[in-house]
Amino acid sequence: MVEALEAKKLKEHAKLKEYLALTDEVIVKKNGRDWSRDAFDLTTRVLHVNPEFYTVWNYRRHILVHGIFPTRSVLCTPPEINEILTTDLSLTTAHLKQHPKVYWIWNHRRWCLENVPVGPTEDDPDGWRRANWNKELFVVERMLDADARNFHAWNYRRYVLASTPVQRAEQAELTYTTRKIEANFSNFSAWHQRSKVLTSLWDSGKLDIKKSKEDEYELVKNAMYTDPGDQSVWIYHRWLVEPGNDYEILRREITSIQELLDEQPDSKWCMESLVFYHRLQLRNHSSRLTDTDKQGIVQRCLQLLNDLQAVDSPRRQRYIDLSTEVQKLA
């Protein structure tokens, strides 16, 4: 036991020593502006051990830009540049599998993609770019399969969708978020993405806003009934209702949440949302309400806020502050 531990320690010590020697070597080369192929290979080895070493990623790109790419010999023609960058993309794919949250790796990927040369031929100047970019959505989907909330991957996904040479129909992204949400209603990253995609589809007129919103209400209702405690769903519902200008929809949603609350009398999110939508009612539609209506709604809100203080005591002070706000609407 003791011997095994001792051996492990020695091995770790040797590994650390080896890494420090590598680090020294790469820094000496960098300071000497060594832009050779040897230096490039050395950065590969260092980054393999420590992909967080941002200076070495920078150095690697300097070697490519100043040392390797400008050599317009047989060795570094555009096909060769394309090949080097394609290899670097595969290298970072391997890194990402082990370190899915290291900013520098995601960055290096972007840089590679943005530097793919024009070609292979004059007739097909986008061929290489297309080939490299087309793999990206596949890579990022594998990353999101492994961790559906990885915000690096989601940000990268939006970047790829916006920058890829062959634009994909936005509807495909809507379908993707449906798939992610149906796999797990709690995935707020997917709900968030959905809100962005829908806004764009509605603004461009590619989707009929009225009909599409109804589909969304249906989807959310389903999710609410599945787990009324899941805040992702309620936050998204709020986005759907806001700014609350459609009085009939506002009333319908209030009724439907009230029904759910009747079934689940302790549901904090039902109460919280009811207060919010009632306040929208008072703020945006006061001309439709009689004084008695308004008094009734205010009393109802105060009652709900009072109940919330009990069922959700950590946020008690917030409900007290909101009660003061609600009274101003009377």
Binding site: K30, R61, F151, W154, R158, Q193, P314
Partner: protein, 279 residues
């Protein structure tokens, strides 16, 4: 924690200065590393805390920072151009500490933050990104420094931040995620800037942070039972300070530096922490 003397002043200053990148005119994370806006802010903060700002080549550092602002208003971290609201905050904070905010295009900078605002009241790392407690803090603090908190929907963001508290008392960084001590700093600092620290249960967060302490070796981990590190220790202590934990110095949640120092520099904003308890 009132133990500044635990680190040797000269050694600290020498180390910071050894991280200077002469080519770029700014600081790297370590000697011989490339300049980056993040390590440059850290260097400035440390030099100020050691009262050694006279060692700094202010014009060069300001040039470096301003050179990183993009057309959109956001800042990149270095010459390779990774952009992020975190770097925007680093730039605003550093320029403010150096008394050079007049050189910043404020409208352009605020314009970018505005485009990062989501319907839940929060902010993400770039336009289109999901709200995240760390980016909420950098955007809120940057707006506080620029006296532009009117860009924030206080009630909605306060709600989103209050909902970061989980039944364990700990705070998470996004809806339906796990709690972690580092979010104490990001969430509590943001709430403090919005004057809404009372919207969470302070006693429960305090207990959560303390439960992540390593009672044998010192330090705070991301959550109970894990290995402590400097990063989570700093953020845990920062959170405890804002919650009024006894015996700690006041922390300025906008600059993440000692409050007395920021006040002396005339940079204090209208944030509020919970009153310091005596036991």
């Amino acid at each position: 924690m009132n133990h500044k003397e635990a680190l040797d002043r000269e050694e600290v200053i020498d180390f910071v200065m050894s991280c200077w990148d002469e080519d770029a005119g700014a600081f790297g994370a370590h000697p011989d590393h490339d300049a980056h806006i993040h390590s440059t802010l850290s260097a400035i903060q440390i030099l100020i805390m050691q009262d050694a700002l006279d060692r700094l080549d202010v014009p060069r550092v300001v040039d470096f920072i301003l050179s990183l602002q993009q057309e959109s208003g956001v800042f990149s971290g270095d010459s390779f151009g990774e952009i992020d609201t975190r770097f925007l905050y680093c730039a605003v904070n550093a320029l403010s500490l150096l008394g050079q905010l007049d050189k910043l295009d404020v409208e352009k900078t605020v314009g970018y933050i505005r485009k990062c605002r989501n319907f839940d009241g929060g902010f993400g790392a770039c336009i289109g990104a999901e709200s995240h407690a760390a980016m909420v803090w950098v955007c809120t603090a940057a707006l506080a420094i620029l006296d532009r908190l009117d860009e924030i929907d206080h009630e909605t963001l306060g709600w989103w931040l209050a909902e970061r508290q989980l039944p364990s008392g700990g705070l998470n960084g996004r809806p339906e995620k796990l709690e972690d001590v580092c979010y104490s700093h990001w969430v509590l600092s943001s709430l403090s800037i919005l004057n809404k620290l009372t919207w969470i249960d302070a006693e429960k967060v305090t207990a959560f942070i303390l439960s992540a302490q390593d009672l044998e070796h010192g330090g705070i981990a991301d959550r109970p039972g894990d290995q402590p590190d400097v990063f989570h220790t700093q953020f845990g202590v920062a959170g405890l300070s804002l919650l009024g934990y006894p015996g700690l110095n006041d922390l300025d949640p906008v600059y993440c530096m000692p409050a007395s120092l920021i006040e002396r520099m005339g940079l204090k904003k209208g944030w509020q922490a919970l009153p310091r308890r005596t036991n």
